[in-house]
Structure formats: structure tokens, C-alpha cells
């Protein structure tokens, strides 16, 4: 899986789960700047990413995923793409 595909999958999962347009999923967006990104949706995002990429995140990784950049970093590291 190349980096562009991973990035676009992450974008889609975040946009659909949070109910926002994909254009709102910018690298600097985070749980504070996107309204629907509460604790329930954070769990939904984590589970959707686990299913999409076939991985299971550590609690520390889940904590580090509270921003778009954080999600991309954790997923990429998990998949060994970087």
C-alpha cells in the first residue's frame, strides 16, 4: 500500500466518520478544530482505521491520534510505510 493510498483512505475515514467534507481534513486540523471529533467519534475513528488497515492500535498510539497529522503519523508507522 503506497503512501498516497494510505493518506486518501485516512482522509475518507475521517471525513465520513466526522460528517465533514474531505477538504476539511487538512494536516493541521485536530479534535479541537473539528466540531464532531468528540471522544465517541475518536473511538469510532480508531475502530474504522483498525478495520480498514487490519491493525490494532496501542493505547499510547490512540492518544497520539487526536489530530489529522497524528493519525497519519501513527498509521504510517504502524504500516511501516515511512
Amino acid at each position: 500500500m503506497d503512501q498516497a493510498t494510505i493518506r486518501s483512505d485516512i482522509q475518507r475515514v475521517l471525513a465520513e466518520t466526522l460528517g465533514v467534507d474531505q477538504s476539511a481534513i487538512t494536516p493541521d486540523a485536530d479534535s479541537a478544530s473539528i466540531e464532531g471529533w468528540d471522544s465517541v467519534n475518536h473511538l469510532n475513528i480508531v475502530l474504522a482505521l483498525e478495520t480498514t488497515f487490519g491493525v490494532s492500535f496501542e493505547p499510547e498510539e490512540i492518544e497520539a491520534m487526536a489530530s489529522v497529522a497524528g493519525v497519519e503519523r501513527v498509521v504510517a508507522a504502524k504500516l511501516g510505510a515511512i
Partner: protein
């Protein structure tokens, strides 16, 4: 819409097509595509996508409100969007709410707890063994036999109280989760060798819960351990998720748990499927009968024919559950019938099919004809066909039909059919079990009708016999009576839906009466085919009000409806009343009962909102018992 869109089947293409249909206000297309998307990709992001679109379309589509409340010990939030999406694709408008975290006992017992307000349609009791039975679960080795027995006993008593407490708040269906069995019992291998071992103990609690559920109306046991086992006990649980967020299952099991709840909700809501329409070539058997011939098609107990035999076995299970079977195939009818009747590998026989369309017409038209012939709604059909082009055609031209999504591997067909939510039933009356047979018998009755000379001769030749009863003196008919109010759409004057609880209460009241009618003929026993709720208002001592009068469509036109009205009149006369009144409330589906009241000399006495009409009839103008039906047991003042 071009051929390309017929064959769109990837999730991303479907999402685009949906957004396109929504922006062009093609609502029917949008709903059809949303259903297809959910079949193709039942994931969490898709659930969010679906829920958002369905909410936006709410004013454009007809959906039945359905309230689900889930009382829980652990984190179930991620299942909620999945459950909502599944229910929406089945024609429901769900509102799903969770009780407070690990406060299920308070939510149940507090008589004014918010989560149980408003008589929800379904209440789930989802309690995890790790939460309720920590001792049995993780410190089993410390417990002596007496302590274990006391825990089992207390748990069963708690559940009995809880179920009754929930019942006091709502007449809806109650779903009770059983407990998961531990993957590795504390005694290891020895657990299975020891009487009263850990797994045996938790299984015995499950047996107690099952017994509690079976003894009550509309209480359903959910075999949680079977759900876990299906995914592999070791794989289904994610210890980190439990330790950090108290989520009882791994991410990939989340949709399956939501699906188990949806199974009950759909069966309970009256959105069941009634008929399975099967393709033949490469579906019920391998190969093409017109080309390969009787000797060439693959249908036996070995590879590769066994995959198709297994599919037929599942269809036979559905038949035994009361699902009507029909055939829709592009073939020469003679070739196909020869194979169905004569191939030694056929599990299904010609007598299992109530209707067939074996011709070269398009399948959408054939499906409409099958629905019309069986006198059931087109939305109660499911269609199974190996050919993706036929499936796409039916999806587009009969969007009401449930098209079963199957891939190219015949070995997956049986499981796909078994998993169709709409074929689930939460109760099965003896009428349900025999329904599929009734429809086959009806086909024979119609053949007789075509050969009989006039209607009187035909009715006489049916040799009909009937029994009429009052539910107050025969509770055995309760489940069937309630079910008729839930499911009857066409011959139903007021379409008021009642739960078993409510029907039972009406039957007990002094100012109401619940009547039922059973009908048989020379072809078979149809079981209870009609029911009525009659109210005797205390402030109008002259009046009997027909609150509900409904009848199964397969007996209409045989003077049965006149007979049942005569019985209602006789019952009213017995209570000293001299006038009958009834409301006709029009719905999208009850046109077949529209003329029933005026045809039986009722006169219009008033208008009701939304084009409804109130009709009245002096009892001395009520019809007598029809000549072609033998009354087996005396009822009221009816002449036999």
C-alpha cells in the same frame, strides 16, 4: 441511467452515484443505491455516510419509526451508527439510545429512568460476564461449590426481576444477552472433567436466562457466546480495548454485534421478507440445464454440486420457517421442470414452490407477477441469482425487492442466504410453519377454480370448515392474533398494530373482545386466518365498535369475510348490543378491504381525518352464516 451505472458495485463508485442522485433529487434511486452500498461495504465510515444521507432524505421516504434502547455494562457506542444504518436500509426510521455506562441496574429499576421513557419498541440488556460475574469469570478457583450455586441462583433471580421491570415500562421486545464462556477456564483442561466447572457454570446461567426468556411474550435470548464463537473466541476479544475503553469486542466484530440486534428489530418490526425467489441455472444447480442437460448439471453430494445442494438445503429450512419459495428463471419451462421434478440431486421438490416464472421475459416483470399471483407486497420478496447483470436489473427496476448480494463462489451462496436479516422470525406459530405449504395448496385451489363451473360450485367443492373462538377462553391463539395485527397490510380495516401484551390485555377486559377464525378445506388447514377486536363502550350500551378486523389475503373471495362478520354480529348480539360501527382507515396497502363494509350494507356515518370513513350497520341487517362453510364448533347464536 446507462448500463455503466447498472454494474457499479464498488463502494466508492456507489458513494458518487448516491451523491449524484441526491443532488438531482432522485430519491428512489438514492435509497436503492444506499441499500446496495450497505451490502457492499458495511463499515463504520459507511454507516456514518448512510445515516447522514438517510436523515437528509427523511421527509422524502416512508419509514416506520422504531425506538431501540440499550442498557449496558460496557462501551457499545461504536455499534450504534452500524445498527441505525442497518435498520434504515430495512425501511425503519430508528432512534437508538444507550443507557448510562455500567448503570443498567439503575436504568432498569428506577421507575422514572429516562432511557426507558416513551415505551421503546426494543430494549436490549447487554451485560458482560466480566462486569456482572467477576468472581465466576476471573477468580473461579477461589469459589467453593456453595458459593457458585448461590451466584447462579442470584443471577437468575436478578434477571427475572429486571425483565419484569423492563416489561412494566414497555410492551416492546426485550433482548437479553447471554454470557460469553471463558476461552481458557481457570482449571484448564481439567475444567471439562470437573462437575460444576467454570464453563459449565456459566453455561448453566445461560440456560436459566434462556428459560426465563422462553416463558415470556416478546422476550428474546441473544446467544452472545455463539456470536463470539463465530469469530473465534481468542480473536473476538481485544484485551487492550477492554482495559482502556471497556469495549467488549475487537473492531471487526463491532458490525456483527449490531447485526444481531438488527435481526431481532427487523423481525419484530414487521419488516420481514415473506418469499424467496430463486434463479435456477448456476444458482439452485451448477451449469445450464438447456445446454448441459439432466446429466450435465452439477447437483449432488460431492464437489462441485454440493455447494448448490447446500443452498437448496438452506432454502428448505426457510420453507419450514414459513417462507414461500418461488422460481424466476430464463429457461425453457419444460427443461427446467424436468430437472426440478426428476433430478436425483434436487433437495427442493416441485411441491415446495408456490409460483414460478420460467420464461424469457425480463426478471423485474416476472417478480412483479409473482408478487401479484401470491397476493403479497413486492417489498416482501427476496431474490437470489448468480448473475450480477440480473441482480443489477432487478435492483434498478424493482428497488423494493431485497436482492441478495452473492459473489462468484457457489460455496458462499448458502451462507449468504442464511444471513439475510429479513428471514428471521422471533416467534413461529404453527400457521407460520405451514404458510409456505398453504401457498402451494392455493395454487391447486386456483387450478380447481378455473375448472369449476360457477362460483357457488367452486366454493362448494372446496369443502370449507371453520372454527371461531374468543381469545379470552383460548390463550393458545394469542401469539398468532398479535402477529396478525403486526403483519396484515391488505385486508385490514384500521391497520392498528398491537403487541402480544396489548392483545392479551384487550382479551381480558370486560369492554372488549378478541375473536379469531380458523379455516380449513379439502386441500389443507389454513390455521387462524382472521381476527377482530370488538369494543363495547360502557357509555353507549347499544353499540359494538369494530376496532380491528383483518384477514389473511389468501382466503379472500371465498365468503369467509362474510362468515366472520356474521360471527362478530352474533357476539355483539350476545352482549345485548344492536348496532355495529367500524372505521376504515386507508393506507398505501389496504385497498383490498376498502369495499368490505359498504358491500355488507354498512352505511357511512361520519368522516375521519385523512380520508378515513366511519361506517355503521344495525345488527338486524348483518349477514347470516354463509352456506358453503361448515362450522365445526358452535359459536354464539350462529346458525350452523
Amino acid at each position: 441511467m446507462g448500463e455503466r451505472e447498472h454494474l457499479t458495485n464498488t463502494a466508492s463508485e456507489l458513494r458518487k452515484a448516491i451523491e449524484h442522485a441526491v443532488s438531482a433529487s432522485r430519491h428512489t434511486d438514492a435509497v436503492r443505491l444506499l441499500r446496495q452500498l450497505w451490502d457492499v461495504d458495511p463499515s463504520a465510515p459507511t454507516a456514518a455516510f448512510l445515516n447522514r444521507h438517510y436523515s437528509a432524505l427523511a421527509s422524502e421516504i416512508e419509514a416506520k419509526p422504531y425506538a431501540v434502547r440499550i442498557l449496558r455494562s460496557c462501551t457499545l457506542e461504536p455499534m450504534i451508527p452500524m445498527l441505525s444504518a442497518t435498520l434504515r436500509t430495512h425501511g425503519l426510521a430508528p432512534s437508538v439510545e444507550l443507557g448510562r455506562f455500567n448503570a443498567y441496574a439503575q436504568d432498569i429499576i428506577e421507575p422514572d429512568s429516562e432511557v426507558l421513557a416513551g415505551e421503546p419498541d426494543m430494549v436490549v440488556l447487554a451485560v458482560h460476564a466480566r462486569d456482572l460475574l467477576p468472581g465466576l469469570w476471573s477468580r473461579f478457583a477461589d469459589l467453593d461449590a456453595d458459593r457458585v450455586a448461590a451466584l447462579v441462583d442470584r443471577t437468575a433471580r436478578d434477571y427475572e426481576q429486571w425483565i419484569d421491570a423492563v416489561r412494566a415500562r414497555t410492551p416492546g421486545v426485550i433482548v437479553v444477552h447471554g454470557f460469553e464462556l471463558p476461552d481458557a477456564p481457570s482449571l484448564g483442561f481439567l475444567d471439562a472433567q470437573t462437575p460444576g466447572g467454570q464453563r459449565e457454570t456459566i453455561a448453566s446461567i445461560n440456560a436459566e436466562l434462556r428459560r426465563l426468556c422462553h416463558g415470556r411474550n416478546d422476550v428474546v435470548y441473544l446467544d452472545y457466546d455463539a456470536l463470539v464463537a463465530r469469530h473465534g473466541r481468542a480473536r473476538a476479544f481485544d484485551a487492550r480495548k477492554w482495559a482502556t475503553v471497556r469495549l467488549p469486542v475487537r473492531a471487526e466484530v463491532v458490525p456483527d454485534m449490531a447485526r444481531e440486534w438488527a435481526r431481532v428489530a427487523i423481525a419484530h418490526s414487521g419488516k420481514q421478507l415473506k418469499c424467496l425467489v430463486c434463479d435456477l441455472d448456476n444458482t439452485l444447480w451448477g451449469g445450464v440445464i438447456g445446454e448441459d442437460g439432466m446429466d450435465g448439471i452439477r447437483l449432488d453430494g460431492d464437489h462441485p454440486g454440493v455447494a448448490h445442494q447446500e443452498l437448496q438445503r438452506v432454502a428448505l429450512d426457510l420453507y419450514e420457517r414459513g417462507v414461500i419459495l418461488a422460481i424466476c428463471s430464463k429457461n425453457n419451462e419444460a427443461d427446467a421442470m424436468e430437472a426440478i421434478g426428476g433430478h436425483p440431486g434436487m433437495v427442493l421438490k416441485p411441491d415446495h414452490f408456490a409460483a414460478s416464472r420460467i420464461n424469457w421475459q425480463d426478471k423485474a416483470s416476472n417478480l412483479r407477477e409473482i408478487a401479484a399471483e401470491l397476493n403479497i407486497g413486492i417489498d416482501s420478496l427476496a431474490f437470489i441469482d448468480d448473475n450480477p447483470v440480473e441482480r443489477a436489473w432487478v435492483r434498478e427496476h424493482c428497488p423494493e425487492v431485497t436482492v441478495i448480494e452473492i459473489g462468484e463462489d457457489p460455496y458462499t451462496y448458502a451462507a449468504a442466504l442464511r444471513d439475510v436479516l429479513g428471514f428471521e422470525r422471533i416467534v413461529l406459530s404453527s400457521e407460520d410453519r405451514s404458510r409456505s405449504r398453504f401457498y402451494v395448496e392455493n395454487r391447486k385451489r386456483e387450478t380447481l377454480a378455473q375448472t369449476a363451473m360457477d362460483k357457488g360450485e367452486f366454493l362448494g367443492s372446496l369443502e370449507m370448515f371453520a372454527e371461531i373462538g374468543d381469545l379470552a377462553s383460548d390463550r393458545a391463539r394469542l401469539a398468532r392474533c398479535a402477529q396478525l395485527t403486526q403483519k396484515t397490510n391488505q385486508f385490514n380495516l384500521s391497520t392498528r398494530r398491537y403487541t402480544e401484551e396489548q392483545v392479551a390485555q384487550l382479551a381480558e377486559r370486560d369492554d372488549a373482545q378478541v375473536l379469531w377464525m380458523r379455516l380449513g378445506d379439502r386441500f389443507g388447514d389454513n390455521g387462524v386466518i382472521a381476527m377482530a377486536i370488538v369494543r363495547y363502550p360502557t357509555d353507549r350500551p347499544d353499540l359494538a365498535e369494530i376496532d380491528t378486523l383483518l384477514m389473511s389475503c389468501r382466503v379472500i373471495g371465498r365468503s369467509v369475510e362474510t362468515g366472520f362478520l356474521a360471527a362478530i354480529a352474533a357476539a355483539a348480539r350476545e352482549r345485548g348490543r344492536d348496532r355495529l360501527e367500524a372505521d376504515f382507515v386507508p393506507t398505501k396497502k389496504n385497498a383490498p378491504s376498502k369495499d368490505f363494509l359498504p358491500d355488507h350494507a354498512f352505511e357511512q356515518v361520519g368522516d375521519l381525518p385523512e380520508a378515513g370513513v366511519r361506517w355503521g350497520l344495525p345488527l338486524d341487517a348483518a349477514p347470516g352464516w354463509p352456506e358453503f362453510i361448515r362450522l365445526d364448533t358452535p359459536f354464539a347464536t350462529l346458525a350452523t
